[in-house]
């Protein structure tokens, strides 16, 4: 999972990490990154979507721990 997360574009990975591990809300993250809230929400969704696909690939390849 860690490796899958690391393959995301930086902005998506950061946003996900801030939200999930940092416990920040989307508006707090928007403020911290100085980005519009809509952009932050979009990255969360895109990032999760990518992560889901990467994890799928990992499984198919016998992959990620």
């Amino acid at each position: 999972v860690r490796r899958a997360l690391d393959t995301l574009p930086d902005d998506q990975r950061r946003t996900i990490e801030l939200a999930y591990f940092g416990g920040f809300s989307h508006s707090e993250i928007a403020k911290l990154l100085d980005e519009p809230v809509g952009t932050v929400k979009g990255r969360m969704r895109l990032g999760l979507d990518k992560l889901r696909r990467r994890l799928g690939e990992g499984h198919a390849a016998g992959g990620f721990a």
Partner: protein
């Protein structure tokens, strides 16, 4: 549904799964979800990714007080930058050293929060604050560096370490803070510095019984134990 349309809820699916909506937003989202098969489908499609996240690191909850003070710092800085006006846009970005790893290291106490502080707060702080302690730097390795530790309250709620004149650690490395206490060294978050050599990191650990805060250069993601002699030390 009512005032908001489907697209605006659909947009929030990621934030919902990551727990990044406020209570009110979450309730509104769930009400929409109940009547929207498309959003439910999308939610279930993305859920496995969110469910996998806990497996990537050991999770540690942020000390709420530290998180609040960090947000206060960011708010204040945003206000200062924008004159005094509303506090939004003319923002931090230009100065943000790339937000460091923000990768919650695998260790207690090291959570994204600290890394967060790696940007934006570098310019803050009161020079005269009696709770600010200057760091000792290993000048043979970091000739230009300096640092100051700003302790919140009695130190039980951690501190913010700000550095200047620090070169990029090179390779795929980052700086990592540590708290030294009774002969043990406790990992704290990692951080990066900006092009100007400035950076900051929140040190969430209780410092009331600690002897020092240290900084070393470690592989991205952080280490469980220091791999080198500290390049910077704040003696408490």
């Amino acid at each position: 549904m009512t005032t908001r349309d489907h697209a605006s809820y659909q947009e929030e699916i990621g934030a919902y799964l990551l727990g990044a909506l406020t209570d009110l937003e979450r309730q509104a989202f769930e009400r929409h979800l109940a009547g929207c098969a498309e959003c439910r489908g999308e939610l279930e499609r993305l859920r496995p990714a969110a469910d996998a996240l806990p497996h990537s690191v050991e999770q540690v909850e942020a000390p709420p007080a530290l998180k609040e003070s960090l947000m206060a710092v960011v708010d204040r800085e945003a206000r200062e930058r924008s004159g005094e006006a509303p506090q939004r846009r003319p923002g931090l970005r230009a100065r943000l050293p790339r937000l460091s790893g923000l990768r919650p290291v695998l260790v207690a106490g090291a959570l994204a929060l600290g890394l967060l502080a790696g940007f934006g707060v570098a310019q803050l702080g009161d020079e005269d604050d009696p709770r600010t302690i200057a760091a000792t730097v290993d000048e043979s390795r970091l000739p230009q560096a300096s640092g100051r530790l700003q302790i919140s309250g009695d130190g039980k709620e951690g501190a913010i370490l700000r550095v200047h004149g620090m070169p990029s650690p090179g390779g795929d490395r980052v700086y990592q803070a540590w708290v030294q206490r009774d002969g043990t060294v406790v990992p704290q978050p990692t951080f990066e510095v900006g092009e100007d050599g400035g950076g900051a990191v929140a040190v969430p650990d209780d410092l009331s019984d600690a002897q020092a805060v240290l900084v070393t250069r470690e592989a991205r993601g952080g280490a469980r134990a220091p791999s080198e002699r500290p390049v910077l030390r704040v003696t408490l």
